[in-house]
Amino acid sequence: MLSRVADSVYWMSRYVERAENVARFIEVNFQLTLDAPALSDEQWSPLVSTSGDHEDFAERYGTASRENVLRFLMFDTRNPNSILSCLRTARENARTVREIISSEMWLHLNKFYLMITSAAAAARSPEPSQELLAEVRLASHLFTGITDATMAHGEAWHFCRLGRKLERADKTSRILDVKYYILLRSVEDVGTPIDDIQWAAVLRSASAFEMYRKRHGRISPRGVVEFLILDREFPRAIQFCLLAARDSLYSISGTPPGTFRYLPEKLLGQLCADMSYGGVDDIISHGLHEYLDELQTQMNRLGIGIHEMFFALKKPPHLAKRPMTIMQGMTQ
């Protein structure tokens, strides 16, 4: 398929997944503030720091009140990672590749986008719209379902899956980070009812609470870490996502599994192997935040590698040998 089209389809999926995860972020926080209302206002600024856009936020909004943070994360068109911006970008990408995706995918994505833009127009001071956040999650699920059901599971579909899984792995790691590194007020809180409540909130926002219970029973930090990072069956667990991503990457490249020919295959292969043969004790002794930080760095590197391998402009054989004219340089 065209490199540019693969690029668009990959990012379309990533941005829809991103929008869903921003909604989940916000929901974690709602859950937390509901159970510990005294800490309410201070609970919102960590959300901004996690997204990495705190400088821009501070400049344009000032205080990290609930209202400001919500508007920033949900509807701000100047925040490229707000739910609205994510949908807009996803839709623009979809628009450039309408002929590759099914008409149902387009129809649904367009409706999804229209739903957010009308919510943005209606919201003067966003009352924390839990309903809207739930609808975002649902619309994202629907998009994935329609993609899986109506798109041929060929190269284009694998790029969708690759983008979606990598985004999910990255964002699940950040959801974990929000709780452990930032919200933990002091070491004394570990193991207390507050701690348990907070872990439960994290699990709920990853739609993992019931599945966790089935698997591990009682809530413990160790159990949650093992479940959300290392589980091989739960679809939002990081390892599950990376294994699926690897499967799609190899489907695209055609390289025999267990070997590698290109850099992204090497990086992803190593990541998966480290996870498969590491254990929760390694993670905890290493330090959860440090571990997650490194994981995110590696995934960034992987993203760059994928871009270089599939999307970036290259020179064809004969032209590669000849010096380029200025015009050729501009279009290549």
Binding site: M1, L2, S3, R4, V5, A6, E92, R95, T96, V97, R98, E99, I100, S103, W106, L107, N110, K111, L114, E155, I252, F310, L313, K314, P316, P317, H318, L319, T325, M327, Q328, M330, T331, Q332
Partner: protein, 496 residues
């Protein structure tokens, strides 16, 4: 829904005759509409609009924020054409495209028509889209114009006239296809009981035609559609057609010419391209050959084309016949190459480059429609009867300064079709753009795009200036059956 209050007025109406009888073929639809409660009809219209928005059937308007999409307004009351009438139109269109292809080939080779004094050399060489670079080129299979959209209008005298040919990148066929789909969803019973000729095979015919342009030795030609991108006003159509045909939609940056061959950049490396359906104007196709500042085209594309390594549809250079002054000569062109009288006449046209015509035009400027030779979309035009004294003076000055660049035509009394305006039914002026494919055979899509001027009294149907569209129904009934049916139904209608 009742039509008692519908006024045909002094215009030719496509649905009702002067005595308010239904035109041939309109009977069944009127039956259906009369049995539908008014509210249901209005709901259908609203449902259609909602669906268009959700499906993203839009166009971009130039001059506004980049990427602003608008829904192309759609009216659910169709325009109906009888089988007999259509068969004549079809013959006329085929005749015209045959002559035009011969004409374009001639002027880029021996120019016999100029030497024989039928068309003046200065008119041709001063045409904005005449491409000196195309002289001597031989397009695949000798066809220059593969896809045409010819604009037709009907005057009060009931006669169909050709308003203009569009031989470069005619657009609108995607709306024809989507409108039909919409109508089938809204009025399934009418379709089930009528014999309306289908339009859904257009993408297949188009793809067949494009593949035909590839050299014989290539078993499975690679065909792509070249688009300027999502900010082009017709982008929706580009992606729609590519999807319906099952071919790749590419932009200039996806292609590269290497060693005289056109390649496209894929995730698995470079792959050869054999046929390009290009929705890019000649000017932007190749910075090495045409405009050097074009970022939308592919450097070296023309070299690959000249070497016969890639086919382009439509061939570069066809725009010469889009010039409105050249248009005025088409009846003579048909006579010259085919030895036939033209079947579908031109609108009577005054050529300002000719002295006598120029004098007439300036004297009667208030009664005529004056058009610049190479504008489209309703721009660069003066509608005499609707203009102010100031506008006329301004235009007269322009014409005098550059007479070669203008033609004038009497204002036509365009036919009308009932249209839903609010909750009433009123007549609105329409034109018709059928689409013609020229490959191994000539295929004319039954019907085409009916554009309607939604503003009361307006004659301007273009999407960028307040126009909308309607579905166009060409009936498949045999002429014999139709005649009988008219007798019976007219009586029944009169009695109702």
């Amino acid at each position: 829904m009742r039509f008692d209050e519908y006024e045909v007025g002094e215009f030719y109406d496509e649905m009702f005759s002067a005595t308010s009888r239904p035109q041939v073929g309109a009977r069944r639809l009127l039956d259906a509409l009369q049995h539908m409660p008014e509210e249901e009809v209005l709901n259908c219209q609203k449902a259609a609009e909602r669906l268009l928005l959700q499906m993203g059937i839009t166009f971009n308007v130039y001059g506004e924020n980049a990427g602003v999409e608008k829904i192309f307004p759609f009216d659910i009351l169709p325009r109906i054409i009888s089988a007999i009438e259509w068969s004549r139109i079809e013959r006329g269109l085929k005749q015209r495209i045959r002559a035009l292809n011969l004409f374009i080939d001639d002027i880029y080779h021996e120019q016999k028509i100029i030497k024989d004094g039928v068309v003046p050399a200065e008119i041709l060489f001063s045409a904005k889209s005449y491409r000196q670079q195309c002289v001597g080129w031989n397009p695949p299979r000798g066809i220059w114009c593969h896809i045409t959209g010819t604009d037709l209008v009907r005057h009060r005298d009931g006669q169909i006239y050709v308003l203009e040919d569009n031989l470069r990148c005619p657009s609108g066929v995607s709306y024809v296809l989507e409108n039909r789909q919409l109508m089938k969803n809204l009025f399934p019973s009418v379709f089930a009981n009528s014999r309306i000729r289908p339009v859904s095979d257009y993408p297949l015919k188009l793809r067949d035609m494009l593949e035909y342009l590839a050299p014989d030795h290539i078993d499975t030609p690679r065909v792509v559609l070249l688009t300027p991108g999502i900010y082009n006003s017709a982008y929706f159509e580009h992606s729609f057609l590519a999807q319906q045909m099952g071919i790749e939609l590419v932009e200039g940056r996806d292609l590269v010419v290497d060693d005289g061959v056109v390649l496209m950049r894929t995730t698995k490396g470079f792959e050869r391209v054999d046929v390009i359906y290009r929705r890019l104007d000649d000017d932007f196709l190749d910075p090495d050959c045409f405009r050097p500042d074009s970022m939308l085209g592919v450097p070296g594309l023309m070299e690959a084309y000249k070497a016969g390594n890639v086919a382009l549809a439509n061939a570069p250079g066809t725009g010469v016949a889009d010039d409105k002054v050249v248009y005025a000569y088409v009846p003579r062109i048909v006579k010259y190459y085919l030895g036939e009288e033209i079947i579908l006449p031109n609108v009577p046209t005054y050529i300002c480059a000719e002295e006598e015509d120029l004098r007439y035009v300036l004297e009667h400027i208030g009664e005529l429609v004056i058009k610049a030779a190479n504008e489209s979309g309703g721009y660069g035009m003066l509608v005499g009867p609707h203009s102010t004294q100031e506008q006329r003076a301004d235009f007269a000055a322009r014409v005098k300064a550059n007479p070669r660049n203008y033609i004038a035509q009497p204002t036509l009394s365009l036919s009308r079709v009932p249209t839903l305006i609010g909750d009433k039914c009123e007549g609105r002026h329409v034109d018709l753009r059928p689409y013609i494919l020229c490959g191994k055979d000539i295929f004319v899509l039954p019907g085409g795009l009916t554009r309607v001027a939604l503003k009361k009294g307006s004659l301007v149907v273009n999407s960028s200036q307040g126009g909308g569209s309607k579905d166009t129904w060409v009936m498949a009934d045999s002429p014999h059956v139709e005649r009988d049916q008219v007798e019976v139904d007219a009586a029944a209608f009169a009695g109702a």
